[in-house]
């Protein structure tokens, strides 16, 4: 199969969606001639023109509101938050309007829009351009939250998100944009709300999101040499969560570790952890469920500090080993 990057996979997904469906348009800051801050929409302006590749002023609430208003009147907009951090400026439109409108109106409105957000640290962009805020949206009924960790998933999930008749928060990771992988040329969808067992193992279930998936796979490779076999599960969709495969896996391994980049307190790991406790898997737990997540700190500018603010491969190796060896 052809190998392309995560970014190219996203671009291809956007292009194919727009070719297929006239209702789809892109709206965001610098997505036109500039091609998007990270280049995702590069070249699309030439193909689709400024009516469908809409550059906006620096107006995040306006972008989100445009998605709400356009989607409720029959369009399928894809908005972009240049950095996921900027979504704070659009929260009211997403949380108060987009997420709730269908419900408030008695289920009589549809809001098929996607907000793409470039998140994550590792680029030296410091505290206001490096956050991982996905769990805020997991907390909001009415939204769906997707977080692809590979080029294949990026395209398949984006196509699903655009076809979805609900607001979808689509969290991309800046460090994954250059990641290469096999991606089919044709259109294909990966169902929203479906997780993926990316590696099978018997000793510990690792539930990882976004860039923590490749990092966990790397850690699994290292631990395998010690005879420790990690089972790595990527939920891919954080909301609605595909619980069953996680529960089944924890029943098999008896142990669970959640790994994500977002700060630990109030993070998605707490949700996964609680879900496991509430599930049938509780009776099969043979160690406390652990969370390996970002420190409760804004992302620092200093390269070394930034590196250590979020889980790295060696941290996953160490934590997984401790759990398997009953240190906790």
């Amino acid at each position: 199969m052809r190998e392309i990057s995560y970014m190219e996979a996203l671009r291809e997904g956007l292009r194919q969606s727009m070719e297929k469906d006239d209702r789809v348009f892109l709206i965001g800051e610098d997505i036109g001639i500039y091609g998007g801050a990270f280049g995702v929409s590069a070249g699309l302006l030439d193909q689709f023109g400024p009516e469908r590749i809409i550059d906006t002023p620096i107006s995040e609430a306006g972008i989100a509101g445009a998605c709400v208003g356009a989607s409720v009147t029959g369009m399928r907009p894809v908005g972009e938050m240049q950095f996921s951090d900027f979504v704070v400026l659009a929260m009211e439109q997403i949380v108060m309007q987009g997420a709730k409108m269908r419900f408030m109106f008695g289920g009589k409105a549809e809001l098929p829009f996607v907000i793409r957000l470039a998140g994550g640290s590792g680029t030296g962009a410091a505290a206001q351009h490096s956050e991982s805020l996905e769990n805020w949206f997991v907390h909001v009924p009415g939204l769906k939250v997707v977080m692809p960790s590979s080029p294949y998933d990026a395209k398949g999930l984006l196509l699903s998100a655009i076809e979805e008749n609900n607001p979808v928060m689509f969290f991309e990771h800046k460090l994954l944009y250059k990641m290469k992988g096999d991606v089919p040329e044709e259109m294909y969808t990966i169902p929203i709300g479906k997780s993926k067992i990316v590696r099978e193992g018997k000793d510990l279930t690792v539930i990882a999101t976004s860039i923590m998936v490749p990092r966990s796979l790397e850690a699994a490779k290292i631990l395998s040499k010690e005879g420790i076999e990690l089972e790595v599960i990527d939920p891919r969709t954080l909301k609605p969560l595909d619980e069953e495969p996680i529960i089944k896996s924890v029943i098999k391994t008896g142990k669970a570790l959640v790994v994500h980049e977002a700060v630990k307190t109030g993070g998605f790991g707490g949700e996964i952890s609680a879900m496991i406790m509430e599930s049938e898997a509780f009776d099969f737990l043979d160690a406390p469920v652990r969370r390996l997540a970002g420190l409760d700190v804004p992302i620092p500018y200093n390269r070394n500090l930034e590196y250590h603010a979020v889980p790295q491969v060696e941290n996953i190796v160490e934590e997984a080993r401790k759990i398997v060896q009953n240190i906790y």
Binding site: P57, G65, G69, T73, G107
Partner: protein, 327 residues
């Protein structure tokens, strides 16, 4: 709608007589609905808060009816009048007000979020200025679909000082979107008086900052509002973009049920009551006291019937609580 049949008199040179009479009835109906709502609230028959527009009925009467079928409405939390003027069914509206399953929003929205998506009534708004960015999206949608529709976006003087006002009017302006921004300046954002919140004479002055047309009208004059909205809609349909209309009016009641109104004097309220839009419009229509009493009686009967209808309507089943969140 603006063009009447030849034999019909155009009231104020703007509205056909039969339509104007219907609008007068709906203004009375709005006020009766809200007075009844206040009474029901006092009797404990409804729960939650509500925002009444008593004293402001002329704007609703002049605005919605100036548009065409297929146009969009983005309402405010003080929007009972607009909802009725947009063609809302009184019974179903009352059901929603009482939180019944057969209400417009299945009892999930209530007074503050009432919507009728089928008639392109995109709902009342609980967040001040919350509908302004949405208007950009609706406008864009119309523009992309090339349908010649327009969006009537309502908001109050308070919303004009939200950041979203700026983003939205600017975006609507640069993209030439068919949006009518109709600001109901009722002098108070809750307790914050217009004079304390603005250093400009009129909110419509801000239109020039976005390069769009702006005007201020007497919001207690149905004809003035109707004319302003109709002309703005015509411009929008012709591709001339957005308009900011400021309609000056006054809210007789408190902001909501919990408002003790310490920020204004009784005299001030009485002074405005002398400019009450309903008698004013009745006078314009040459309707005498007897005729007016008949209208009031009909409104009261209609409201009573609507209350009966709503009270006898089913409550939502608890088992349906999770419905309507996702498509």
């Amino acid at each position: 709608m603006a063009e009447g049949k030849k034999e019909q008199q155009l009231i104020g040179g703007e509205i056909e007589r039969s339509k104007a009479e219907d609008l007068l009835y709906k203004m009375v109906l709005t006020r009766t609905f809200e007075e009844n709502a206040l009474e029901m609230f006092a009797l404990g028959k409804v729960h939650g808060t509500m925002h009444v527009s008593i004293g402001q009925e002329a704007i609703a009467a002049g605005a919605g009816p100036a548009l065409k079928e297929g146009d969009y409405l983005l309402n405010t939390h003080r929007g009972h009048g607009h909802f009725l003027m947009w063609g809302g069914d009184l019974n179903l509206m009352m059901s929603e007000f009482l939180g019944k399953e057969n209400g417009y929003c299945r009892g999930r929205g209530g007074s503050m979020h009432i919507a009728d998506v089928e008639s392109n009534n995109l709902g009342a708004q609980g967040i001040v200025a919350g509908n302004l960015p949405i208007s950009v999206g609706v406008g864009l949608s119309i523009k992309i679909r090339k349908t010649k529709q327009v969006v009537l976006t309502l908001f109050g003087d308070g919303a004009a000082n939200e950041g979203a006002f700026h983003e939205s009017l600017n975006m609507a302006s640069i993209w030439n979107l068919p949006v009518i921004y109709l600001c109901e300046n009722n002098q108070y954002a809750m307790s914050m008086a217009f004079e304390r919140a603005f250093r400009i004479e009129q909110i419509s002055d801000r239109a020039s900052a976005y390069g769009i047309k702006g005007l201020t009208v007497d919001g207690n004059d149905v004809i003035a509002v109707h004319q302003a909205v109709r002309e703005a809609a015509d411009r929008a349909r012709e591709g001339q973009g957005s308009t900011l209309i400021e309609a000056i009016t006054y809210r007789y009641q408190g902001h909501s049920k919990s408002d003790r109104q310490l920020y204004r004097t009784r005299d001030e309220v009485k002074k405005w009551m002398k400019k009450d839009p309903i008698p004013r419009f009745a006078k314009l229509l040459d309707i005498d006291e007897e005729g007016f009493n008949k209208i009031e009686e009909k409104a009261k009967v209609d409201i009573k019937n609507a209350v009966d209808f709503a009270e006898n309507s089913p409550e939502p089943e608890l088992s349906t609580i999770m419905e309507g969140i996702y498509a």
